[in-house]
């Protein structure tokens, strides 16, 4: 088993500063149609940790009468944030589908406020990446927490140039 106790910086991570990761993950969420169309922003990256911001729009509501955000928006946001943490938490970016995700809803998310997501990789093994994420609208008042596990498909199942494409360096392929 080539397991590691703590997520570490590998070759592809070591050469990147937080700002280039922010640019790379911004490119990642702007290539995904769903997060691009919702205007999701990557605010800060410090591998294996990310912070994102989903700007407010009325379509995020799940109950127009009570002015509450749709719980599914929060699940989608946690999946995206945890998945982005995975990309920057591996020695080199790999394609890692979500195996499962669990979301606890601490308090309702309300209309009119942006939703922020923080996520980090907790542990990397040869086959899995374990993550956790938190959402809030006002600092210190978590609206939801998620725990997501991602499967490592490995370098063999990751398209050549995947990591380079993330950083906009794919032209030599």
């Amino acid at each position: 088993m080539r397991e590691r106790e703590e997520p570490q910086s590998g070759s592809a991570v070591a050469g990147r500063n937080p700002d280039s990761w922010r640019v790379g993950l911004s490119r990642f969420v702007s290539v995904i149609p769903h997060t691009r169309d919702l205007g999701l922003e990557v605010e800060e990256v410090s591998p294996p940790w990310v912070r994102m911001c989903l700007p407010w729009r009325d379509e995020l509501l799940g109950d127009i009468d009570r002015g509450l955000v749709h719980g599914g928006v929060l699940t989608m946001l946690l999946d995206t944030a945890c998945g982005s943490a995975v990309l920057c938490g591996l020695p080199a970016p790999e394609v890692c589908p979500t195996l499962d995700l669990r979301v606890d809803h601490y308090r309702p998310a309300v209309a009119g406020l942006a939703i922020r997501a923080e996520a980090r990789v907790v542990r990397v093994t040869a086959s899995m990446v374990f993550t956790e994420g938190t959402l809030w609208q006002e600092p210190g008042r978590a609206i939801a927490r998620g725990v997501g596990n991602f499967v490592r498909l490995g370098a063999r199942n990751t398209p050549p140039g995947f990591g380079e494409a993330l950083f906009g360096e794919a032209d030599h392929a």
Binding site: V31, I32, P33, H34, T35, D37, D58, E59, L60, L61, G62, D63, I64, D65, R66, V69, H70, G71, G72, V73, T75, M76, L77, L78, D79, T80, V95, P97, T98, L99, D100, L101, R102, V103, D104, H105, P108, P159
Partner: protein, 156 residues
């Protein structure tokens, strides 16, 4: 207000009619991703649908639906199905949600069926299964815990 979730009479009427479409009207994000419900032709209850919109794509290489959108679809289905099959008109609020991804969800129509495993006085447990081509090859299963809110007559 004479319509909507805060209007007790409206909620009672739509509950009695089984008018899930009226509830969906008031869920903007569910409409944004394209959720609908139709009667199950081969049984009782409803089958829920998620439209294969470009907006719902989460992986352009495969391509595949965004796992979070599939989750939002299943949470919507589970919540609406609980409101429909609850003994009385109730307003559920989600407590926690868990989803297992079983197969890649392609950009084709996705369906879901729900089972209300328990409806207590305060809490409900709903199981949701989603599939695409064949119901015996699910793309995901999900589980919801919801608190059943009491209706306040003066809330309207």
């Amino acid at each position: 207000m004479h319509e909507g979730f805060r209007d007790v009479a409206w909620l009672a009427r739509t509950h009695a009619e089984g008018n899930v479409a009226a509830w969906l009207e008031r869920l903007p994000y569910a409409r944004l991703i394209g959720v609908s419900a139709t009667p199950d032709e081969e049984g009782e209850g409803l089958i829920y649908q998620l439209e294969p919109r470009e907006f719902n794509v989460g992986n352009i290489l495969l391509p595949a639906l965004h796992g979070g959108v599939v989750a939002a679809f299943m949470e919507t289905a589970g919540t609406l199905d609980l409101m429909l099959s609850a003994r009385e008109p109730r307003l559920p609020r989600i407590v926690d949600f868990s989803i297992d991804y079983l197969r890649t969800a392609r950009v084709v129509p996705t369906h879901a069926r729900c089972r209300l495993l328990r409806e207590g006085r305060r809490l409900a447990n709903v199981q949701v299964t989603a599939w695409q081509e064949s119901e015996d090859q699910p793309v995901a299963t999900a589980r919801l815990h919801l608190v059943l809110g009491a209706l306040e007559p003066n809330d309207a």
